[in-house]
């Protein structure tokens, strides 16, 4: 993969962090507080019971950051075991898995996150054995987070050249134009509107006034991505959701998995581009090499392949469609106990529950985002030509 490929596919705009949290008695109560923090509904309920109204949800912070497509935390108390032959893990820790996709690259995102959240990040990561607070120095904290980072082996983004604000602005224009198109047709059926040039002018003015914060020029979605199956609506509609799987793999097969992941094509040729409703997807190998960076944490006894994505449809049909790709199926078949129905095994035994999730535009499907790009192209000149 060339540096240009990495830039073009948004490679530096996604991150996966895996943080072992020790399960010592003292920490157990702290871990509960981490869980509580992550479980927003529980937190809100607690706040209500205690009469505390001032608990700012983390998601509000994310929304205001403006550069976060999604973020997801999962607490993994026990790693998946898919075969009796798979050795049991002995590590006395919980894994905190964090995945996110953002604008402008990892370093800038992390800097913004630290600036916005400061020492409140303690709530998320303070149980990690090597925790360093941002208060002790931004750079030291950045190194701490960097040590939790797992390199992605594969990454897919359906609209890699669009920022969060681009998506939001394009969707607003799209929805506005759609509703305007409908109202125009309704009005056209009424004879008083047919001669109503003034009425149309007023409507145009009102529309431009509503859309004035979306009128920066947004480049169209990368033409190489037009026509990918990911931009089709999935058969089973569902609000956008994140899915994460950890597939255990025998340690001796780690090298083969890495090699096969390395050979996956990127961008619009990625296997994920062929699965309807895929916004973003990523794969990463979590193995003993990663855990060497973590002090006082036992090594893993298997390698774990992380498969994680943000999708529009239900998880099961999405995974089934993905596994129609020979390359992906061959990779997953190297896992422990992956013999006959790989999709069913992975779905049943390897899916990781999420503790909390933030999606910036949870009701917009990939199909709508692509349609919004078309709407933007079709209406931009007219919208910006209007003069107060």
């Amino acid at each position: 993969m060339t540096p240009e490929d990495r830039a073009r596919t948004g490679w530096d705009a996604a991150v996966t962090l895996v943080t072992p949290i020790e399960r010592r008695p003292r920490v157990r109560s702290t871990r509960r507080s981490v869980l509580a923090f992550l479980d927003r509904s529980w937190l809100i309920e607690l706040g209500r019971r205690l009469g505390v109204v001032n608990i700012a949800p983390l998601t509000e912070t994310f929304k205001r950051l403006n550069h976060l497509h999604y973020a997801r935390w999962s607490l993994v108390n026990s790693l998946p075991r898919t075969s009796p032959d798979q050795p049991k893990e002995t590590g006395a820790y919980t894994l905190l898995l964090f995945t996110s996709h953002f604008d402008f690259g990892w370093r800038r995102y992390l800097g913004t996150f630290i600036e916005a959240s400061g020492d409140r990040l303690r709530l998320l990561w303070a149980d990690a054995p090597s925790w360093v607070s941002p208060v002790e120095g931004y750079a030291r904290f950045e190194r701490f987070v960097e040590d939790q980072r797992v390199e992605h082996a594969h990454l897919f983004a359906a609209y890699p050249n669009w920022s969060c604000n681009d998506v939001r602005a394009a969707l607003r224009i799209y929805y506005e134009c759609e509703s305007d198109r409908i109202s125009q047709s309704v009005l056209a059926a009424q004879h008083w509107a047919q001669d109503g040039a003034d009425g149309a002018d007023v409507r145009d003015q009102a529309r431009v006034r509503r859309l004035q914060h979306c009128l920066g020029k947004i480049p169209p979605i990368d033409p190489d991505y037009l026509g990918i199956a990911a931009a089709l609506r999935p058969e089973v509609p569902h609000p956008t959701q994140g899915v994460t799987y950890l597939i255990p793999i025998p340690v001796p097969r780690t090298k083969a998995v890495r090699r096969m992941l390395h050979n996956l094509p990127f961008g619009p040729a990625s296997p994920f581009a062929a699965v309807p409703g895929t916004h973003f997807a990523r794969m990463a190998v979590i193995d003993h090499r990663y855990f060497k960076k973590q002090p006082r944490v036992d090594a893993l006894r298997s390698t774990y392949l992380m498969l994680s994505a943000e999708i529009d449809g239900e998880a099961e049909p999405w995974l089934t469609t993905l596994l129609r790709d020979d390359q992906i199926r061959n990779i997953l078949s190297l896992g422990w106990g992956m013999k006959d129905d790989i999709a069913a095994t992975v779905q049943a035994k390897c899916r990781i529950a999420k503790s909390v999730e933030f999606i910036d535009y949870p009701t917009a499907t990939v199909a709508e985002i692509f349609e919004a790009s078309d709407a933007l192209e079709a209406n931009y000149e007219e919208l910006t030509a209007w003069s107060g």
Partner: protein, 452 residues
């Protein structure tokens, strides 16, 4: 400690040269011959002995004594230049950006794609880039004489000289450097703080000295001190960029704005820049409704500073457009989080206008301790793309750029009657530039010492 720091910081860095020093020359020097490093050491010794190379504290003190000073000189080096003098530069772990090369080590030209810079053919970049910067400020009457000895010294090297001076209204008719970061260590009173420090919920607070000077605590609570520490302590990074103004493009967008009902050319210019060209404090904001946005805690009966404003109360850009130059280059609290997202992205500017053969422009100078977090962050994230400000891919009309060139640029003027005007091109074209490390005064003394 702070007093000691200011004694060690070169003049020009933290405070501008005093008003009488109106003429500026930038000498860009290449060290090609084996004996050149020795000649540089000799030049440094002479400038130190003559009192040309002085500290910020001394320059400030002299500035208060009329006629006490006719010339200040500051000196900086590229990483290559330091190496030729026998000192290997190494970024410390605090300043080194994750997953990117160190900007100073790599040099500005090698980072053109990241910065959106077009290809340049600036003479100062010949000889695979300059090794040394000699920055000279003199009084108008003494300028030619004040440069004689330096010209003779430069004559020993490959060199290129740029010149500029300070008229009243230098940059497209606007005062430059109106809002500089306020560093409390420099001022006995806090009169200049509002508008120039870091905006907080309770008012303004000074920007930590370490944002601009190596070895001092920065806004992240750390001290940037690249190796070799004995050279860099009290020093800083200086970003030099020569811009040429495209007055045709500027006039075209003003005319377009007038045609589209935005008022006079001055009104359109104010929308684009974020300030009016005149100095009327009540017309700082483009729509002149300064009274409506003045922070209540400053409404104490005293005439407010013309720089004492925020953007949080104008989140829709009705008073100052979201894409106005000063709002993008220094967003204050426009990005929310009580200004925390902007604190680590401030630069001190020492711009000097130039005019040659009918062309006008600016020698843009930025002083900062972490180039990637400060100058480059502003250029890349705020000026070259509008996404942070909900402006899509719009570049800043004044200082934004694209490597491949940018044409037909929209500028959205928000308001009850929103209008989108268009510029044929950005107003400033990069001619060339480089990153320099300006050592501390003690560092210069070490550099002036012959090895052994």
């Amino acid at each position: 400690m702070v007093g000691m720091t200011l004694e060690n910081v070169q003049a020009h860095v933290l405070r501008p040269a005093h008003g009488a020093l109106t003429e500026t020359s930038f000498g860009f020097v290449a060290l090609k011959d084996p004996e050149d490093p020795s000649l540089v050491r000799s030049l440094l010794r002479r400038l130190l002995d003559q009192g040309d190379l002085i500290s910020d504290a001394e320059a400030h003190s002299r500035g208060h004594r009329a006629g006490a000073c006719h010339r200040h000189v500051a000196v900086g080096f590229t990483a290559k230049g330091l190496r030729k003098l026998g000192h290997a530069y190494r970024p410390d772990r605090v300043q080194r950006p994750l997953h990117e090369d160190d900007p100073f080590k790599q040099g500005m030209r090698a980072r053109a794609d990241l910065l959106g810079d077009p290809p340049t053919e600036w003479p100062g970049q010949a000889w695979s880039g300059p090794d040394m910067l000699v920055w000279v400020a003199t009084t108008g009457d003494a300028h030619e004489a004040g440069l004689d000895d330096l010209r003779a010294a430069w004559g020993d090297f490959e060199h290129h000289v740029e010149r500029g001076s300070y008229p009243d209204r230098p940059v497209l008719g606007f005062l430059d450097g109106t809002s500089q970061p306020f560093v409390s260590e420099l001022m006995p009173s806090l009169e200049r703080l509002p508008g120039s420090g870091t905006v907080t919920r309770d008012g303004w607070r000074p920007v930590p000295l370490g944002e601009f000077v190596f070895g001092c605590a920065d806004a992240g609570g750390e001290r940037v001190l690249p190796a070799p520490a004995e050279i860099t302590e009290g020093g800083t990074f200086v970003v030099y960029r020569k811009y040429a103004f495209d007055m045709t493009a500027f006039e075209a967008v003003l005319t377009n704005g007038v045609d589209r009902g935005l008022g006079s050319k001055g009104d359109v210019a104010a929308k684009i820049m974020g300030r009016y060209q005149d100095e009327d404090a009540r017309k700082v904001w483009p729509q002149g409704d300064y009274d409506a946005v003045i922070p209540p805690d400053r409404a104490n009966g005293r005439e407010p500073s013309r720089n004492d404003f925020r953007y949080a109360d104008d989140s829709y850009g009705y008073a100052c457009p979201l894409g106005a130059h000063i709002r993008r280059a220094n967003p204050r609290d426009a990005l929310g989080f009580e200004g925390r997202l902007t604190e680590r992205h401030r630069i001190i500017r020492r711009g000097v206008p130039w005019e040659e053969g009918g062309e006008k422009g600016l020698h843009f100078i930025a002083v900062n301790a972490r180039i990637h977090d400060q100058f480059e962050f502003i250029q890349r994230q705020w000026l070259n793309t509008g996404s942070s400000f909900r402006l899509g891919d719009d570049i800043d009309l004044v200082a934004g750029s694209r490597s491949e060139g940018a044409t037909d640029l929209p500028f959205v003027v928000q308001g009850p009657r929103p209008v989108v005007i268009r510029a044929p091109r950005p107003f400033a074209r990069l001619v060339g530039g480089a990153y320099f490390l300006m050592p501390g005064i003690e560092g210069l003394r070490l550099l002036a010492t012959e090895p052994g």
